[in-house]
């Protein structure tokens, strides 16, 4: 991303650009301000949190200690990471295959499937927790590892609910690979499987990484399914459930909330920064290639 700039403006030095850059920096600061405030409040000592001073001279870790010191934080963090990584990996695989089918193959009912992917995102998830609960319970009687209070069904449910959007986004990346490549491969006698994995996959990989971030956020932030499906096993709970202790509308522990929010945001942010190059330039790169 750092290497691209508007080709049109490359040579001429427009006087407006400096203004644009200043505006850009000011907006960036405004957008970042709530985040700065969050991190700042997390580091402020207890007495200072409710003051509006935009800095602190006595940064303190007590809010973080309170959050990290709550029972089993490390365990919950690990569980959340496992679930999120599984969801991301499976989502990449399944959305890749589906996106190929939906963009490069012509078949009856394709439009219907596409519309269904949209509809799938429209259902309010709260409404589906009851049916899902009983389904997981049923499955659990024959396959205990996929029953209630296990992480596996949580992975599958989060996967199912992040998949429609992932497929929808990925279609663009797959469609961008020129058809000539496919024809050339077919002429070379490459099987469809080989074409998929040896030609398409490397070309679509940036897009896969980019869309996976959304699956990651989805799985990482999910509270509802975790609370519904993992209700009585302490060891298998996930991070948002632990964080909920601090999000009490009754008595707001601002320091704890902000420290918790900071801790929850950091992994997502790292993931984002890691993939943002692909997120921003992946689409255009794929098209030009």
């Amino acid at each position: 991303m750092a290497t691209v700039s508007m080709p049109l403006r490359k040579k001429r030095r427009s006087p407006g650009r400096l203004v644009a850059e200043i505006v850009c920096c000011v907006i960036a600061a405004m957008v970042a301000f709530p985040l700065y405030w969050m991190v700042l409040a997390a580091f402020k000592p207890a007495g200072e949190i409710q003051s509006a001073t935009p800095w602190t001279f006595a940064p303190s870790l007590e809010s973080f200690e309170r959050v990290l010191g709550s029972n089993g934080f490390g365990r919950y963090f690990l569980n959340s990471t496992i679930v999120a990584i599984c969801v991301v990996a499976l989502s990449m695989l399944l959305s890749f295959l589906s996106a190929i089918a939906l963009t490069r193959f012509r078949f009856k009912g394709r439009t219907v499937l596409l519309v269904m992917l949209l509809v799938a995102q429209m259902v309010p998830v709260e409404a589906l927790t009851i049916p899902l609960f009983f389904m997981v319970q049923q499955v659990g009687t024959s396959v205990p590892a996929f029953g209630l209070n296990q992480l596996a069904p949580l992975v599958l449910v989060n996967l199912a609910f992040s998949l429609p959007f992932a497929i929808w986004m990925l279609r663009g990346f797959v469609a961008a690979v020129p058809a000539e490549l496919e024809e050339a491969a077919a002429l070379d006698g490459a099987s469809r499987m080989r074409f998929t994995w040896q030609v398409l996959f490397p070309l679509v990989a940036p897009g896969l990484v980019a869309t996976s971030v959304l699956a990651f956020i989805h799985a990482w932030n999910d509270f509802l399914f975790a609370q519904t499906l993992i209700f009585s096993d302490v060891d298998n709970r996930v991070l948002p459930q632990a964080m909920r202790v601090f999000y009490k509308p009754e008595e707001l522990d601002w320091g704890g909330i902000m420290a918790g929010a900071t801790l929850m945001t950091i992994p997502v942010l790292i993931f984002f920064i890691f993939v943002q190059r692909h997120l921003a330039s992946g689409i255009s790169g794929a098209v030009k290639g």
Binding site: F231, S232, Y247
Partner: protein
């Protein structure tokens, strides 16, 4: 094409009607042992759910002591305690009710949640075993009533929460005021304070603080709902209830507690305003003591029972509090019962009082505590003058969740509606929830 579609629609329709939605296997209340035979397993893991408090350390220490005592007395038993955040508890409890296999054995729960849990057969009927427990005769009857639905007892009251009037002694001395003797006087005093000190709320109360509003209704002779057999009807349209709600809403005015700041306050938030030195009075519970002591008003406040409509009378406080119960699906009924008799017994109620300030539910323990600590006195006085409770029907959960009463209070407070219109609407919603 058309016929095919119709057929498909018919098939789906038939399917929808033929096999119903998912449901847990029939969950009939279990038959408890009579005659001292232990019911269920007597060894293994005993899973306990307790609520997580703002500062959980002292609670954990007291509970751990009980756990060790229990494990020492019962060979081969391991007690595991999980502390649940109260927020989101419904999902956890419903999960336990819907899936018997992973149900814990023992839980702490709020007495206002009881009616709903009982309707789901979530908790075991302890009536006979509690009656047979010698200590139970010392339980305060009105408190024990909060553990009953349709004359069946579902838990041991672990502690009660009673509210009273907190006021700033320094402000009252400075302005030459006396603690109010009636509710009307309270309004007057609050108004005078805000007049002289515009940066203070006369009294910090909130539109969502229903447990402060209910005593106003009760003190005026109104009722939230009336029971006739199995049928409940809202009592809010009664002129007395209306008078109470109106009197409470008058506190949420610019000259006492401005609605822009107070219309959305809950109980703890109201107390937080007082603790932060922003209010001259508030209605707070014995359990709010720690929060107030941690604030800037430490050492500058006192507590009196909330007065009634006439001098010398008290407004009946809401009998809040938590219970300890045994899950209906527990496979260790007798063991669980033993455990709640220990943790909910006199010894540990005393310890929980020392650790958390939770007011005991046994009359003798309560008096003992009150005589040793002057702070508790007004609360005990209020409690023993006769507490009142919300309608013991599962519909209450719905009424509570739908914010019916806060909405009415807020409508009156912000001048959006008259008391008559607001209570009419609220009563209609309540009656709908009652199934009338």
């Amino acid at each position: 094409m058309k016929i095919k579609g119709l057929l498909a629609a018919a098939a789906v329709g038939a399917l929808v009607v033929a096999c119903g939605p998912p449901q847990a296997a029939n969950n009939q209340p279990q038959q408890n042992g009579n005659s001292g035979q232990p019911v269920g397993e007597m060894t293994g893991e005993l899973k306990v759910w307790l609520f997580q408090e703002a500062s959980n350390g002292p609670k954990e220490a007291a509970v751990n002591e009980a756990k060790q005592e229990f494990e020492a007395a019962h060979q081969g038993v391991k007690v595991t305690v999980e502390y649940l955040p109260t927020d989101g508890r419904a999902t956890r409890f419903n999960g336990a009710f819907n899936d018997k296999n992973s149900s814990p054995d023992v839980a702490e729960f709020g007495n206002t949640d009881l009616a709903g849990y009982a309707a789901s057969n979530g908790f075991a009927d302890l009536t006979n075993d509690i009656a047979a427990w010698p200590d139970s005769k010392d339980l305060i009857p009105s408190v024990l009533d909060t553990a009953k639905v349709k004359n069946k007892t579902f838990g041991i009251p672990w502690y009660t929460g009673t509210r009273a009037l907190y006021y700033r002694t320094d402000v009252f001395t400075e302005l030459g005021l006396q603690p109010p003797k009636t509710l009307a006087e309270l309004t007057e005093t609050a108004r005078r304070i805000r007049q002289s000190k515009p940066d203070l709320y006369g009294v910090a109360v909130g539109g969502k603080y229903i447990y402060a509003a209910f005593p106003y209704i009760w003190a005026n002779g109104g009722e939230l709902a009336k029971q006739d057999g199995d049928k409940w009807t809202s009592g809010l349209t009664d002129p007395k209830a209306r008078a109470g709600l109106k009197q409470y809403s008058e506190l949420l005015k610019d000259d006492i507690c401005p609605p822009a700041a107070c219309a959305q306050l809950t109980g703890s938030q109201s107390v937080a305003q007082f603790a932060g030195g922003k209010a001259a009075m508030t209605i707070g519970g014995d359990f709010n003591r720690k929060a107030v002591e941690a604030g800037v008003v430490k050492g500058k406040y006192a507590v009196v029972p909330l007065p009634g409509t006439e001098a010398g009378k008290l407004a009946p406080p809401f009998a809040g509090g938590n219970l300890l119960g045994v899950f209906g699906a527990s496979k260790k009924y007798t063991l669980s019962l033993e455990f709640i008799k220990l943790l909910g017994g006199k010894k540990y109620q005393q310890k929980m009082y020392t650790a958390m300030g939770n007011l005991p539910t046994f009359k003798d323990v309560q008096e003992q505590v009150a005589s040793a600590d002057k702070f508790v006195e007004p609360f005990v006085k209020a409690a023993q003058s006769g507490t009142k409770f919300v309608p013991a029907t599962p519909a209450w959960t719905k009424i509570d969740a739908q914010n019916i009463i806060p909405t009415a209070i807020q409508q009156v407070a912000t001048g959006g509606q008259s008391v008559e219109a607001a209570t009419d609407a609220a009563a209609g919603e309540m009656n709908k929830a009652f199934g009338n």
